[in-house]
Symmetry: D2
Subunit: 412 residues, 4 copies
C-alpha cells in the first residue's frame, strides 16, 4: 500500500469510529486520563499540521491558530497546552468544525505526498509516525469512550456487536523455554517507535509461559477466594489502591441478582467464563499471579516467545471484547490481540536508547518512570499497528484499557 493510500485508510478509520456517536458523545471526558473522541480526532490532525505541514509547506497558514494550543497533548517544545483535565469543556470547535479541520489537513498532506519535490525523508517518516500515532488514538477513542459511557446509568450502547460465538477456552498448558542470551528490540529500517530500539542482548533464565491468557472464570475463582480482601496477595501500593477505590472486581463488572455482568461497548453483558479477563490493572494482574502460584512474564520473556504472524482478535473483528482463542500447538496462543498483557517489566529505556530528534523526543522517552510494559495488542488495536517488539505502557493502577493477564513461572 503506498503512503497516500495508507494515509487515507488510517485517517478514514478514525472517522468511522465516530459514526455511531452524537456530538455530545464525542465531547465526553470522564477522567483526566481519558479524552473526548472529538479531541482525539483533532489532536491526531494537529500532529500532521504541526509536525509536517508547518515545517514542510512554505507559507502554510494554520487552519485555526487556537488549535495549536487546544490540541497539543503534551509537547512542551511546541508550546502551551490546554489543560488536560478540561478537554471535555471544549464545546467549541464543534464536531463539525473538527471534521472540517481533518479534511483541510488531509488535503494538504495528500498534496504534499504527491509532490515529488518534497523532503521525502522528513515528510514521509513523520507521516508514517503520524499514522501510527493515529492508530494509538483509535484505540484510545474506544477505551476512553467506554469509560465515559460507563458513567451513565442508562448503560448506553456504542455498537451492538454480533453475539459471541460458542468458542470455549482451551485448557491451560505451560510451555517451557530454555535459558540463554537473547536479542530483543527492533532493528532495521521498518517502522518502530523509538522506545523499541535499539536491539540488544539480554540474558533470560529458563522459564515457562502459559498457553493462553487468564479467563474470566479463572479470575472469578480469585474473586470468590477473597482475592480483593487479602493484603498478603498484593503489592503495598496495590493494596492501598484496592482500599481507597474499593475495588472488588475488574473495572466494569457488577453483580446483580442474575450474577456477574460487565458494561461493554455493546451495553451490559453477562460475564462469560470462557472469555479472557480484561480491564484489570497491573496490581490486579500481579495479585492474581501470586494467588495462582505464578508470576507475570518479563518483557524479554514475552518477546522472545512471540514469533510468528500478528494474528488474533483485533479491532477489525468488530466484537470489541476479548474472546476465547483457538488452540495453538506447541506455542503460547493468542499472544497478539484480545487483551494487552501486563508484563513484570517497568517501562524504562533500552540500553543505548536514543529518543527521536526535536519535538518528537517527547513522544515516548519522558514517560519512562512509574509505568509497566504491556505487550501484544487488544481487541481495540488495529492489527497493522502491532509488532512483536511493540511496547505499550500504563501506570500500574490503570484499568480502562483492554488489559489482561498472561502467567509465567519458574520451572520447578
Amino acid at each position: 500500500m503506498d503512503l497516500a493510500t495508507r494515509f487515507r485508510t488510517v485517517r478514514h478509520a478514525s472517522e468511522e469510529l465516530s459514526v455511531p456517536l452524537s456530538p455530545e458523545d464525542c465531547a465526553l471526558q470522564s477522567m483526566p486520563d481519558a479524552s473526548p473522541t472529538k479531541w482525539h480526532l483533532a489532536h491526531t490532525t494537529w500532529f500532521f499540521e504541526t509536525l509536517v505541514l508547518e515545517s514542510q509547506v512554505p507559507g502554510y497558514r494554520a487552519f485555526d491558530p487556537h488549535y495549536r494550543v487546544l490540541f497539543n497533548s503534551y509537547y512542551n517544545s511546541v508550546g502551551e497546552q490546554y489543560t488536560r483535565a478540561q478537554r471535555g469543556l471544549l464545546s467549541r470547535p464543534s464536531l463539525g468544525e473538527v471534521r472540517a479541520y481533518r479534511q483541510h489537513v488531509d488535503e494538504r498532506i495528500l498534496t504534499l505526498l504527491d509532490d515529488p519535490g518534497r523532503d521525502q525523508a522528513a515528510v514521509d517518516e513523520t507521516v508514517v509516525l503520524g499514522l501510527h500515532h493515529e492508530q494509538q488514538h483509535q484505540e484510545l477513542i474506544l477505551t476512553d469512550l467506554k469509560h465515559g459511557l460507563a458513567q451513565n446509568p442508562t448503560q448506553p450502547v456504542y455498537r451492538k456487536a454480533a453475539p459471541p460465538t460458542a468458542d470455549v477456552a482451551t485448557v491451560l498448558a505451560w510451555h517451557e523455554f530454555e535459558e540463554g542470551l537473547r536479542t530483543i528490540g527492533h532493528s532495521g529500517d521498518a517502522f518502530s517507535f523509538d522506545n523499541e530500539r535499539p536491539e540488544h542482548r539480554v540474558f533470560v533464565a529458563r522459564f515457562e509461559l502459559a498457553s493462553r491468557s487468564v479467563t474470566n472464570g479463572e479470575y472469578l475463582e480469585f474473586v470468590e477466594d477473597g482475592g480483593y480482601s487479602r493484603p498478603e496477595l498484593w503489592l503495598s501500593d496495590g493494596w492501598a489502591t484496592v482500599q481507597r477505590d474499593r475495588w472488588q472486581s475488574p473495572l466494569y463488572w457488577y453483580e446483580d441478582s442474575d450474577g456477574w455482568h460487565a458494561f461493554t461497548l455493546s451495553g451490559p453483558q453477562p460475564v462469560r467464563p470462557e472469555d479472557p479477563v480484561c480491564h484489570v490493572s497491573y496490581f490486579e494482574a500481579d495479585a492474581y499471579a501470586r494467588w495462582a502460584g505464578a508470576r507475570l512474564p518479563t518483557e524479554a520473556e514475552w518477546e522472545t516467545t512471540a514469533s510468528g504472524p500478528i494474528d488474533g482478535n483485533f479491532v477489525e473483528s468488530g466484537c470489541l471484547e476479548p474472546r476465547p482463542s483457538p488452540a495453538a500447538s506447541g506455542t503460547p496462543a493468542a499472544l497478539f490481540g484480545n487483551v494487552w498483557e501486563w508484563t513484570a517489566s517497568p517501562y524504562v529505556p533500552y540500553p543505548g536508547f536514543r529518543p527521536l530528534a526535536g519535538s518528537l523526543a517527547e513522544y515516548n522517552g519522558k514517560f519512562m518512570s512509574n509505568q509497566f510494559v504491556l505487550r501484544g495488542g487488544s481487541c481495540a488495536t488495529p492489527r497493522s499497528h502491532l509488532r512483536a517488539t511493540y511496547r505499550n505502557f500504563f501506570h500500574p493502577d490503570a484499568r480502562w484499557q483492554f488489559s489482561g493477564i498472561r502467567l509465567a513461572r519458574d520451572p520447578a
Copy 2:
C-alpha cells in the same frame, strides 16, 4: 394571563435560551456548582413530572424511569440523585430526547390544567411553583453557560448583544432612612417562596443607602489601590480565598495591553467604567465596602427601601450585562435588575418560618447555613420572577452569578 398560557410562555422561554447553542454547548459542565443547559431543561421538566403528574394523573407512566434519578437535583425524599459533579457526563439522553421529554410533559400538564375535575389547589399551586422554579433555572442556564464558555480560550459568543448605549452612571448619592420597627417578608395569597414568609417585624436603626450600585470604574480604584493584596480589608475566610484562588479582579476580568477586558456572553468586551460591577463574591463586596468606608446593607434595610414597581434591566432587555441606570429622584435607583446585590445578612429562616409540605420542604429550608442573601434580581433574571421580598442566596465565595454591590452606611 391564565395559568395554561403562563405555563406555555415560561416553558417556551427556557427553550428559547438554548436556540443559539449546539448540543455540545448544552452539555457543558465546568464546575460542580454549574449544570449543563440540557440538564436544566430536563430537571425543570422532571419537577412537573415528579411533583405534579406522578401524584395527580392516575396511571401516569414515566417518560423514562431513568430520568427520576438522572434529573433529580437534591430531593432526598424523592430518591437517589445522579452525582451532581458529573451531570456533564450525560451524553445520553441527547438534547433531542430532552426536548421530546419537555414536549411530552408539557402536553400532559396542559391537559391536566384543562381538566375541571383536577385537584385545583394541589395542581395549580405546584404548577405555579414549578414555573417560578423554571425561571430560577433560566437564570442559571445563562450563568452556568457563561462559566462554561469562559473556560474556552477561543472566547465563544453566545449571542451578540446590541452595542451598549452611551448612558453614564449617575453621581453616587446617599439616601437616609429613619429608624423604626418595620415589617418585612411576604404575606397574603400571592405567590412567594416559603423562605420569604412569614411577614414579621424587625427593628431597623437609622441608615443611609447608596443611590445606585458600585460601578466598574469605582471598583477599579479599589483594585488599583491594592485591594486584592491588603489583608486588613478582608474577612479572614475571604483573604484565604483570595490567596488560594489568586483572585486579582472580578471573575471574567483580564488585563491585556489594551487595558481591562471581561468575557461576556457576547464574547470579550472592554470593561466600561460606567457599568455596574458584577461577578464579585460576598467577600469582595464586603472588602470593597470596608475600603470605601461603608458597609453592605442588611436585607431588612434593603427591603424596606424597595417600594415601587419592579423595573430595571432584566433578561428581557437582551443585553445580558448590567448597564447604567437612569437617575431616580428621591429614592435609590435600580434596586431591581442589573446585578443581584449582596446583603450583609446570612441566609437564615425568618422567625416562624415553615417549610412547604412533603418533598417541597427541601426546596429552600435546607440551605440555610453558610450562605448570604442577595436581593433585587439581575440582567439574567426574568422580570416576572422577581418581588421586593425575594431572597436569593449563595455562598460568600460564589462569583459566577451576576452579583454586585450596593453600599450602605451608618449616619455620622
Copy 3:
C-alpha cells in the same frame, strides 16, 4: 482584685493546666484547628510582649526575635505567621524555654503595671484584654488537648476527676417569653470584647425556651431513631458532613459491648443519660431540634433570658465534663457553664459595630462569616471570663468544643 494580682492569677492558671502534662503532651497538634498546649502558653505571652511591651516599654528587646513569627496566630498587621497546621512541629523552643519566656514577660508586665508613669489607658486596657484572651486560650488548651489525646488508642488520662455525683436531670419544662423590642449587647465601661458592642435594640417575637439543655439520654433517642441516617432532618451542608465524615454520634462517643462510652479528659467513661450532651456541632444541634419539633434559640432570645448571676459548672469545678444542673424556679436553669449552647444566629456584626483600633482590629471582626454564635460558657471556661453578652463562635461543623443544645420553640 487589682490588675497586677489579676494578671498573676490568670497567668498562673494557664500554667496550672500544663502541670499534669509531659513535654510531649504539650506539643500535640491533632488538626489544624487545634494547637499544642505549649503553643498556647507561648502565644498568650506573645500577646503581652507584642501588643504591650513592644509599644509601651522604650528599648524593649524581644526575648527571642523568632517568637514574633512563631507565636503570631493570625495578626497580619503584626507580620508573618508560622503555618497554623504545623504548630505541632515546633519541638524548639522547648516547654522549658516557653516557661522561661512566660516568666520573662510576666516580670516586665508586672514592672510596667507598677510604674505610675505608664500610659495607663493604653497599658491597662490592653493587659485586661490580654487576660481575657488568655482565658479563651485556657479553654482551648483543654479542648485541643482532649482532641489530641483522643487520637491515642491507649486513651490517656489528663486528670482523674472526682466521680460524678448522683444528680439527675430535671424534667424538661418550657418557659414562655413575651414579644417586645429588647436591648442586647454590651455598654458601659466594664470590659467586653468589641463584638459584644454596641448595645442595640432588636425586636423579639413571643417564644419559649427550654428549662435546661438536652441530655445524653434524650440525644440517644435521636441516635436510636436513625437521626444520623435521615437526610430530612439535616441542613444540606450538615448532611454532606455526616456522610463525608461518617458521623454516627457526638464526637468522642463509641459503642462497645458494654454500651455507649465517651472519651473524656479523665479517660473513657460510660455515657451517663443524665448529663448534658456535648461535643455536638451546629449541624447536629439543628438536626436534633428539628427531630424534637423545636428549634435553636436566636442569640437575642438567649441573651434576653439570661439575667442573674454567672453561676454554673465552670472550669473551677474541676470535673471537666458537663453535669446535671439543679432545678431553678421560674427561669431557664444552667444558661451558664456546662456546655456552650449553639444559637440559630450566624456570627455577624451588631449594627454599628466598630472593631478595636490597630492590630486588635483583627481580634474578632474578621471572622464574621460562616460561623454561628454560641452562648453561656462551658465546664472548661473560667467563670470570671464570662458575661451574659458574651458571643463565642465556631463553624457549624465544629465539634471539639464543649458545645451542646438548648431548645427553643414558637408558642402554639
Copy 4:
C-alpha cells in the same frame, strides 16, 4: 563479635542517636513518610518482641498489649497498624516509657540468646535480621529528624559536627567497563536481605562510570543553567513534581544575600562546591544526567564495579554530611558512603526471587513497584550495615534521604 555483643552494640547505637534530643524532638513527625525518633526506637523493639519473643519464649507476656498495634509499621499479617501519618500524635507512651520498653525487651532477648536450648536457627536468624532492620531505622532516625527540624524557622542544631576539612573534589574521570555476562546478587550463608537474592546472570553492555559522584558545584551549574525551568530535561512525572512543589534546588537549599546555604543537622551551612550534592530525587538525578549528556547507571553496572572493601564516609565519621572523597586510582572512588546513588533501575524482584517466610514476607517484596534502586550507603548509614549487593529503594520524588548522583554513559 558474638551475636549477643553485636545485639548490645547495635541497640546501644540507636539510643545514642537520641541523646542530643529532647522528648519533644523525639516526637516530631513532619510528613507521613517520616516517623518520630521515639517511634523508631519503639518499632525496632516491637520487631524483636513480636517476631522473636512472642514465638520463641513460651508464656511471654507483652510489655504493653497496645504496642502491638502502635508500633507495627506495615505488617498486615501481624495485625492492625496505627495510622502511619499520625505517629507524631502518640505523646504516650513517653520517651521514658519507650526506653523502658527497649530495656525490657533487650534483657529478654539477651537471656534467650544465652539459652543453649533455644531454637538457634529461628532465633539467631531473626535476631540478625532484626539488627539489620534496626540499622535501617538508625539511618531513618537521622533523615526523618533532619526533615522535622528543617520545618522550624529557628534552624535547630542536632549536633555540631567538626568543621569540614579542606578536602577538594577530585577531577571527574570516566572508567570504562567491557561488555559481558555478569553475575550480580547475593549468595551464600552470610546475611543479606531477601531482595538481594538470588545471585543471577545479567548481560551488561560496554559502559563508562564516573570516578566520583556529582558535586554541589557541578549541580549549581545545572541550577544556574535553568535546569529547574526546562521541561525538556525532565521525565514527565518529574516535571509535574517540579511545578507542583515549586522545586528550584535540592531539598534544604536556600539562597540568601550571602549565596546558597543548606540546612544540615549541624544547623545552616554554606553550600560547599566541593561536597557531593545530596537530597536530590530520582527525577532531579535523571534531569541532571540528561543535562550533562550522561545517564544514571543500572544497578547491574553499579554492582559489577563495586568490588573491594566497604570504605567511605559512613555515620561513624560523625559529620553527617557528604564530604569529598580521596582520589582512588583505577577504579571509581567512593562508591560506598557519602550519598546513596540513584540507579536507573526500578526496584523489581530478581529472577527467581523468593520472599522470606511468614510475616517477614512483607519485609521487602511488597514494595516492588514505583520505586527506584539506590546503591552504596550514605553518611548516615552504619558501615557494618552495607554490602555491595545492598538494594535500597525509594519513590522517584523522594528527597529527604542522603541521595546523590553518580553518572554513567555509553562509550562513544
